[in-house]
Symmetry: C2
Subunit: 301 residues, 2 copies
């Protein structure tokens, strides 16, 4: 399974970066291959200063060895071997009219002393962070997520949509990071779902990413915008930074377990502002976005 | 003591904000008085878009009531009453030639059921974060810190200088946030230091702030700088954000105990950049700064 999934994310990284370069029309992904001293490594691909993408990364990694102490405590296991691989992407478009997007698909294995798998699971998801809310875009994104989920279980979309709203939440601001999507973790073999079934589900979601995001980019990338709208985007990007550095378990985990810092922090936006006590004007588009972030909506009835 | 110290930080806030407005010559501090629902409140003063100061805050607060659950666990005490007050300041100058500065002086009391003090202590410090290193400025700042310390105990400066280097450290980057200064905490009554002695020490440091920082601002504020130097400042400000959101106990404490968010996060810089895998050129001024951040220097021999 680990080889099959790693092969899958390698191919998916190629497909996604190639598609994004086509859309951007100017910038190309720069590739960094890195090794982890304790075992494994990754292929980081970052795009900067494009026509469409101001900054973004589409990274894969596959790491293995002794489970680090901090992870032993986290997973409540002893001194075991592990393997983990995944694809993580974050794209920060230049225009405030195109949302930032994040996605991640990952697979984890733990082994006993004889190298037998004692536990394994999939996790991941994809979620959208708009600066201006186009309801049809939110509906399109969620509809694509739901279609991918429904092929596997009709309960997946409502369950993982709710988990996404709960996870990507800036508790200190009482607002969501964005308008959500899917978030799932610890997808383990059960009576009804084998690991093969989970592989099919996770790769279905992975394959849906381009359909979920790219039509939104194409529809909004050439819309005009003002300097004030750009400032709003940079202020909202500050909230993205706050989530990733204060609340995101994946980021903190990476920072505290000696991960490759530049691959982890590629998620941070290129240009950000913090303005003291900023509040959008009553009745503005900016205020409408905040209202939705404070009370997540059902995008599909 | 609590009334005396609160009176002191009120006066110090007036003195510092008045001096900074004089230097800035354009922007004035905007004042927000806020109340804490559970008891106490604060007086936040923020300056933005000045000639010299792009953003900064000089805030005081005095809060009291039942010690929040998270703080009970942190201090390993039961359900007790507390009082805490302090002055916190962060100044982000517009020009990369003037360092960012942070300072904090605080006092804490805990009470038994009869309202008797069961524990009390002072804490605080001041530290400098330059974007370009002028060695004479670093020496001036540390010399002023040392002079204030030496009046009370010759061991204070070396001890609190070292603690400052250790505390303001971005472990995930293997570098200090800045070039240090002083950091002290849990300054409690001992055989040689009464609380009155500690009050005299802490206020001595508080009174030294203007002498430590203002001459540096005056000397560097009108130096010319390039767009590339400004970009470097914004990239380094990203490291400031990383420290405050990932490592700073005070910030995380505030965020997780329902503090006044805008007063806590006034410390974040106004405009920030994150560039993937950025490294200064060999032999550049930027690289010299990094070298000092990676191995803290003794500024006073």
């Amino acid at each position: 399974m680990k080889n099959k999934f790693y092969q899958y994310i390698q191919n998916l990284q190629d497909t996604i970066t190639s598609k994004l370069e086509d859309i951007d029309g100017k910038a190309k992904f720069k590739q960094d291959i890195w090794k982890r001293p304790e075992g494994g490594g990754g292929r980081t691909r970052v795009i900067e200063n494009g026509n469409v993408f101001e900054k973004g990364g589409v990274n894969i990694s596959g790491v293995h060895g002794k489970l680090p102490k901090s992870m032993q405590a986290y997973f409540k296991v002893g001194n075991v071997d592990f393997f983990a691989c995944g694809l993580s992407l974050v794209l920060h478009p230049k225009t405030p009219m195109v949302p930032t997007v994040h996605a991640n698909w990952r697979y984890f294995e733990m082994y006993d002393k004889d190298g037998e798998i004692i536990d394994s699971w999939f996790g991941g998801g994809q979620d959208l962070t708009p600066y201006y809310l186009f309801e049809e875009d939110a509906k399109h994104f969620h509809h694509t997520c739901k279609t991918a989920c429904d092929k596997h279980n009709p309960k997946f979309y409502p369950t993982y949509k709710k988990r996404c709203d709960e996870y990507f939440y800036n508790a200190h601001r009482n607002e969501g990071r964005g308008i959500g999507g899917l978030f799932f973790d610890y997808c383990k073999a059960t009576e009804t779902m084998t690991m093969e079934n989970w592989y099919n589900f996770v790769t279905e979601v992975g394959n849906s990413f381009i359909d979920a995001y790219v039509p939104i980019v194409e529809k909004r990338k050439d819309l005009p915008y003002t300097e004030a709208q750009r400032n709003w985007q940079e202020i909202r990007r500050g909230r993205y930074v706050e989530f990733n550095l204060v609340h995101d378990k994946g980021t903190l985990f990476g920072l505290k377990t000696n991960g490759r810092i530049e691959s982890i922090l590629m998620s941070l936006p290129p240009r950000v502002q913090w303005v003291y006590d900023h509040h959008p004007e009553a009745g503005s588009e900016e205020e409408k976005l905040i209202a939705v972030l404070k009370s997540p909506r059902r995008w599909i009835v």
